[in-house]
Point group: C2
DNA sequence: TCCATGGCGATTGTGCACAATGCATGGGGG
DNA sequence: CCCCCATGCATTGTGCACAATCGCCATGGA
């Protein structure tokens, strides 16, 4: 009984790739925001109704999410929000450090200082982020803190690295959701500010060090001990109470 | 080699994810092997018939290939083998240098020398590669030269980096196919051998330098001037006399 | 009381047919 | 002779319906 969501009768029969993208982002945001914790089943029909789209479209989105290791699909068992192992979480952050160190280097090495336009975009972003934090909008804060790192990559002019980082950021958001100790924010906006200041001042070494420290700090904030191992079906954990082997 | 696996019959109702994977690899290999040059149209029905699968399955594979930037899909116009821009090609190699330098560092720093089992796998791989080169099997040589880099990443124990590198290697194969100057092999097996020797000897600095030189050499071998720009449909150039049939 | 077995509901996987779209071609007009 | 427009064809996009499969639960037996 959705209003007119099925598909416009006389209107645009073919909606285009826009709905897929919106749905993809919506789910990714929900996962980063802990509204969809790891292990949550993503039933096709439910999603189709929720978003007002056909099941085929939902399936495409789920496939894309699975490609990005955000959800895991098992044959005839459907899709669930993935639960990255501790090892995977560590590796994701390690990869991020590798890439983002390079990004910062490129930004700082680009003639000593950043381009005026880039600095401006960065400034505006930090303002948004500060506002989100100030107003207590946690969902926006999480989203924007991911965007900060992505923005730096974009400003470095490396499209390929940016693409890689995009997937890594999504996976770290998931890793944070899976292994959070309390429920701290993904990133500290203050640290972002300091990184931007170092870049703005053309201090390459400081920016690089701040970025590494920042990422290490985020990783350190996690509870990466042994809780979310990898060989977990985890639906079995909730379905039945057969404890694997809590050593 | 027709990828008609044991489940080629229509009798098998549910074939599982195996055919998708085989098809994916088959297409990737064909692209790396220049049997499917950039711009080649990938018509769903033709592929479905060639691989003996349904069109839906083909569509999923194409979607995955598009996700990996190997093919580009345009709405209502179908899929074509992508034509990476010169800029993108450069960036792909730059990203590879970043990641593979790290891989080599990790391998060399792991206690001075490599694990015996790792060294053995590496040795066996080099033998395969040498044999392929020796027997003039260009397709195998190309495939194995990509596998060499992937093997190093695997041996480094970094699954996430390996995954990223996997996509980058595919993209570089495509970039090579798109911007090749003559039609040299993707990699020189001799250089692989030298890298392995340095790793085997525990010489971290030499291994790192050899890897960087190797990747720069591969990139240098390309004709990265301005020829294969991005806004080319090139289907218009050849009309529609394309036969993706490898036979 | 516990375990094995069979049925049942829910969900996913797949094929099919039709609609929509874009491209190429041919004819007519300037 | 060249350009523009209408028509036809090939290909993709989408919805629909059915079949296969899995997990859960009730029932029966030891």
């Amino acid at each position: 009984m959705t209003p007119s969501t099925g598909t416009g009768r006389r209107g645009r029969k073919t909606a285009g790739p826009a709905p897929e993208e919106a749905m993809f982002r919506s789910i990714v945001d929900a996962i980063a925001d802990r509204r969809l914790p790891p292990g949550t089943r993503l039933v096709e029909e439910q999603l189709a109704e929720a978003f007002g789209v056909s099941r085929a479209r939902v399936r495409r989105v789920l496939l894309r999410l699975a490609e990005g290791r955000i959800v895991s699909i098992q044959r005839n068992r459907g899709a669930v929000v993935a639960r990255p192992s501790v090892r995977e979480a560590r590796e994701v952050f390690q990869a991020r450090r590798l890439i983002e160190r390079e990004v910062v280097r490129l930004l700082a090495a680009g003639g000593g200082r950043m381009q005026p336009e880039a600095a401006d975009r960065l400034r505006r972003h930090l303002a948004q982020e500060a506002q989100a934090v100030g107003s207590g909008d946690r969902a926006a804060a999480i989203r924007l803190s991911g965007r900060f790192h992505l923005l730096l990559a974009e400003l470095s002019g490396q499209g390929v690295l940016t693409g890689l980082l995009e997937t890594l950021i999504r996976r770290s958001s998931l890793a944070i959701a899976a292994h959070e100790a309390p429920h701290a924010p993904d990133c500290d906006a203050e640290e972002h500010k300091r990184i931007a200041q170092a870049l703005d001042a053309g201090d390459a070494e400081a920016a690089e060090r701040l970025m590494i420290d920042h990422l290490e700090e985020v990783e350190r904030r996690l509870d990466l001990v042994a809780g979310g191992g990898e060989p977990i079906d985890l639906r079995r954990i909730f379905g039945r109470s057969l404890a694997p082997d809590p050593a």
